[in-house]
């Protein structure tokens, strides 16, 4: 008994233990959550991690990933020093080198390439996490390269594209005030506990809840109506709902009549999508579609909660989400309290109720003064409406073709090659580059192919700026110094800028000076933020009126909300680029490729969240792994498993025409019959290998990760 007592006493903030609390935030996941951490530090070591009670988003709680922070920080897989590759690419043979040698080598190499091939031949890539992105983008552009690429090429940008094509500016769901919430393929109980708590509170005050989700989740369990859509058919479902809303005259005549463009054509197109047709296309019973449409359209205010990527992880994804977002305009719920209210982002896509100079900071030179971005020709709408970055899905194609110009070097921050479809092909392409650097916390499979690997530290060992929608802001301070020789990504970026000899005043002035510059319009300074290590409410939150479009119009070519996109009208005749939100079944599906579907009868749906993982970031931790001991495992409906004679935990082969993986079977009613769900990124069973590299939405370049065709069989 004694030893138990002694052990746990060392984990508590009580007098005599010598423990002191340092504040930080968790950035293991990054969907604008960043829960507050109370790090219990003793003798320079973190001995216990708890949520910060005063943090307004996380209110003292953590999820299973954040609760595993201590194991994450002290993982044996941490990179300890900069490394130089000594064996062949992928061999994992490296020798330690000094920071000076590493950074000088990179700077010399990049400047050589700049001279010989132009700055655009150097790629600056950001994976997870995202806090350093503004500084990395600035580094890329100050260097002269348009090729700042990120993991957002498969994450949220395509959703933003659909929102921008429709409204010019996205409006988020006002969870606090809405009376009817339509959740479209999101399950915040696994990904965003703050939003999940807001849904629970909404339910307590009588908020109606409609959830579109191909799975059964804790969110669908709470719903008044669950629409169990077949993966990749969201557009047809939304058009069917619109059919009911228009047919029953439940739409907002004022908004549609005075603030929209293309309603007549849209309305005519929607006529084809009767609820019965909707049922045929989506698998959702017609009466449920009708009920949901009536509920969403007749309760005011109503809001739609989209997800970052599930709906756009289809080859028809952007058109599908356009059809969904049209419902917001159709019902007049755009930019109203309790509807989809427009709050401009302050920093890192998060609204913080302050004005900043983030955009000015990151775009040091206009796109027109640089070479075209990777993928600019192939995905022109990306360039038309998205200002942030290049489309990384085109990267392997341009490396291989060398067109319109050759790519020579890449520096990745947290790059994971398993993010791409045909992941093996991507890695082979990257290995063809002259020079490849990866910065990471751990020795990952991607690092193994790099020429130089740099050790980054975790969020608790560095400083970062974050904003929160309730008008809260934090500039964290390191709770412990960076472990081993690791450094913060930002420090690496600023060091590199110096050695590259860039004539950039803010990169020369340093990180904190840059943050001060970005925050200047808000009147908040780094010095002030440092006085509040756990964060603070912004002193003068900006107040936003409803219906800002009445004065400012919509940031679309027509100045109105566009049922029919004027941007897409320019591409008339190009398949997938239809100006109306035309529904086309997924590229590989029973409807599009019936012959393929005979051999590969299951829908392969990958990457839908599990509560203990966010991508691969907690795969190496025994604490989170223990929550899903049979992983890597594919979720299969018990009815399908019974038909195929597959038992729980038995080995199954999942194959597509491209490749196959062997995993365990996890039988669950969470998945609908006919669908196999597989979580992504496993070293031993990488499901992204099963996708062709060009299995992409032609509009956004997003991979169709959530609806391809596959076969499963018992091994």
């Amino acid at each position: 008994m004694k030893d138990v007592k002694k052990l746990s006493r060392e984990r508590m903030l009580v007098s005599g233990t010598g423990i002191e609390i340092r504040k930080s935030i968790c950035t293991i996941c990054d969907p604008q959550t960043q829960c507050g951490l109370d790090l219990h530090v003793k003798d320079g070591k973190i001995v216990k991690v708890e949520g910060s009670k005063e943090h307004p988003y996380s209110v003292g709680t953590l999820c299973s990933k954040g609760a595993a922070t201590r194991q994450y920080i002290y993982s044996e897989d941490r990179l300890k020093t900069p490394l130089k590759r000594t064996g062949p690419r992928g061999s994992g043979k490296f020798e330690p080198i000094s920071w000076d040698e590493a950074l000088d080598t990179i700077a010399v190499k990049f400047n050589e390439i700049k001279l010989q091939n132009g700055p655009e031949s150097v790629i600056f890539f950001s994976g997870y996490t995202k806090y350093f992105r503004p500084y990395l983008k600035r580094l890329a552009h100050s260097f002269g390269s348009p090729n700042y690429l990120t993991e957002s090429s498969t994450c949220h940008r395509a959703t933003a594209m659909a929102q921008k094509l429709t409204f010019g500016q996205p409006g988020g769901p006002d969870l606090k005030n809405t009376r009817c919430l339509l959740v479209w393929s999101a399950n915040p109980f696994y990904t965003n506990p703050g939003n999940a708590r807001a849904i629970l509170k909404g339910r307590e005050r009588g908020m109606k809840l409609i959830v579109v989700d191909p799975r059964e989740t804790p969110t669908t369990a709470l719903a008044d109506i669950h629409l169990p859509v077949r993966p990749g058919t969201d557009g047809a479902l939304a058009l069917s709902m619109a059919n009911v809303i228009i047919h029953e005259k439940l739409y907002d005549r004022d908004f549609v009549g005075n603030h929209s463009y293309g309603f007549e054509d849209y309305s005519e197109y929607v006529q084809h999508f009767t609820p019965e047709k909707g049922e045929e296309l989506t698998g959702v019973p017609a009466d449920k579609i009708t009920q949901a449409a009536r509920m969403y359209a007749s309760i005011k205010p109503a809001a739609i909660m989209p997800s970052a990527s599930p709906v756009v992880h289809h080859t028809n994804g952007v058109q599908n989400y356009r059809a969904v977002f049209d419902l917001i305009g159709l019902t007049g719920n755009y930019d109203i309290i309790g509807g989809n209210f427009v709050v401009p982002a302050s920093f890192l896509h998060a609204p913080g109720l302050i004005l900043t100079r983030e955009h000015e900071f990151i775009q040091t030179r206009p796109w027109s003064e640089m070479a075209p971005r990777v993928g600019a020709d192939r995905f022109p709408v990306w360039v038309d409406v998205l200002d942030e970055e290049a489309q990384a899905m085109h990267l392997p194609f341009q490396i291989r073709s060398g067109e319109p110009y050759p790519l020579k070097a890449l520096i990745g921050f947290g790059m994971n090659y398993r993010m791409w479809p045909d992941s093996k092909g991507l890695l082979e392409s990257v290995e063809k580059l002259d020079f490849f650097v990866n910065v990471d916390i751990f020795m990952t499979d991607t690092c193994k192919s790099a020429d130089i690997v740099l050790p980054a530290c975790t969020s608790v060992e560095r400083s970062e700026l974050r904003c929160y929608p309730m008008g809260y802001i934090i500039f964290t301070q390191p709770a412990i110094p960076p472990l081993y020789e690791s450094r913060s990504d930002v420090e690496i970026i600023y060091e590199l800028a110096g050695r590259l000899g860039l004539d950039d005043p803010l990169l020369k002035a340093g990180y904190e000076a840059s943050v001060d510059w970005i925050l200047a319009p808000s009147g908040i300074s780094v010095a002030e933020l440092k006085k509040y290590p756990g964060g603070m409410f912004v002193p003068n939150p900006i107040k936003l009126p409803e219906k800002k479009y009445l004065k400012a119009g919509f940031k679309t070519p027509s100045g109105r909300m566009e049922f029919k996109s004027k941007v897409l009208e320019r591409y008339a005749g190009r398949p997938g680029f239809e100006a109306l939100p035309v529904y086309t079944p997924p590229k590989h599906s029973k409807e599009s490729t019936p012959e393929l579907a005979q051999d590969y009868p299951f829908i392969l749906n990958t990457g839908s969240r599990l509560p203990m993982f966010v991508h691969t970031r907690t795969y190496r931790l025994s604490w989170t792994n223990s929550l899903r001991p049979n992983h890597p495992a594919a979720d299969i409906n018990p009815a399908d498993a019974a038909r195929l004679g597959i038992q729980q935990d038995e080995a199954v082969r999942i194959s597509t025409p491209k490749d196959a993986i062997v995993v365990k079977a996890n039988l669950t009613q969470m998945v609908q019959p006919g669908v196999v769900h597989m979580y992504h990124g496993h070293s031993e069973a990488d499901v992204n290998m099963l996708f062709e590299g060009d299995y992409l939405d032609p509009l956004s370049g997003y991979p169709g990760f959530k609806s391809a065709l596959c076969r499963i069989e018992k091994v």
């Binding site: 008994m1 030893d3 138990v4 007592k5 052990l7 746990s8 006493r9 984990r11 508590m12 009580v14 216990k48 991690v49 708890e50 949520g51 996380s58 003292g60 709680t61 953590l62 999820c63 299973s64 954040g66 609760a67 595993a68 201590r70 194991q71 109980f189 696994y190 506990p193 999940a196 708590r197 629970l200 509170k201 307590e204 009588g206 059964e216 804790p218 669908t220 369990a221 669950h226 169990p228 509560p611 203990m612 025994s622 604490w623 989170t624 792994n625 223990s626 929550l627 409906n637 009815a639 669950t668 009613q669 969470m670 998945v671 609908q672 019959p673």
Partner: protein
């Protein structure tokens, strides 16, 4: 303090596992060393998609009032903590005979590499210091609470009344439940 226990509101549990991880962090449990977790999450499914009921349950030692494990232990290694009422194992006295496991109706006791019984200790030290158990402290949905039986019953009643109000409107609540105090959340 003795009357407080950990309660799970099954309506709120979503099986995220934060409680199990926080427990491992608190108690230095490493599954890779074959150390079993004190707290485990179960998923119970009934019915068929899309109308299946999927229930999550977070389970650990119940710290029974009348603990069969304690009665079954031949060496007196299992005792009730006087201050918290927690069922505690003294590993020095445990001989790894598994009598407690046979006696426990919930499958609580597990054994570590040394064949010593290993289970939730109700975070006794935290509780003595006025803190909540680690699993309760972390729970993002507020599904786990550490309260007295009466308080929990009161909470349940409030919830029930709240549900009735939502279902039938305020009039009924005043008529039939007028005497019951429940707070607006």
């Amino acid at each position: 303090m003795k009357d407080r226990a950990i309660y799970l509101d099954m309506e709120l549990c979503v099986g995220c596992g934060a409680c199990a991880v926080a427990c491992m962090d608190q108690n230095d449990i490493y599954p890779e060393k074959d150390q079993p977790a004190f707290r485990r999450i179960y998923r119970v499914e009934q019915g068929e998609f899309p109308d299946a009921s999927i229930q999550y349950i977070s389970v650990a030692c119940m710290h029974c009032e009348d603990s069969p494990c304690l009665v079954g232990c031949p060496t007196g290694a299992i005792t009730k903590d006087e201050c918290t009422g927690a069922v505690i194992v003294n590993k020095e006295l445990c001989i790894g005979c598994h009598s407690c496991a046979l006696a426990c109706p919930f499958g609580g006791p597990r054994y570590d590499q040394d064949e010593k019984m290993h289970k939730c200790n109700l975070c006794t030290d935290r509780v003595e210091a006025g803190l909540e158990p680690a699993c309760v402290r972390v729970c993002p949905m507020g599904a786990l609470t550490f309260e007295s039986a009466n308080k929990v019953q009161g909470m349940k009643e409030s919830k029930f009344v709240g549900n009735m109000v939502k279902r039938f409107g305020h009039r009924l609540a005043y008529m039939h439940f007028g005497g019951v105090g429940f707070s607006e959340k």
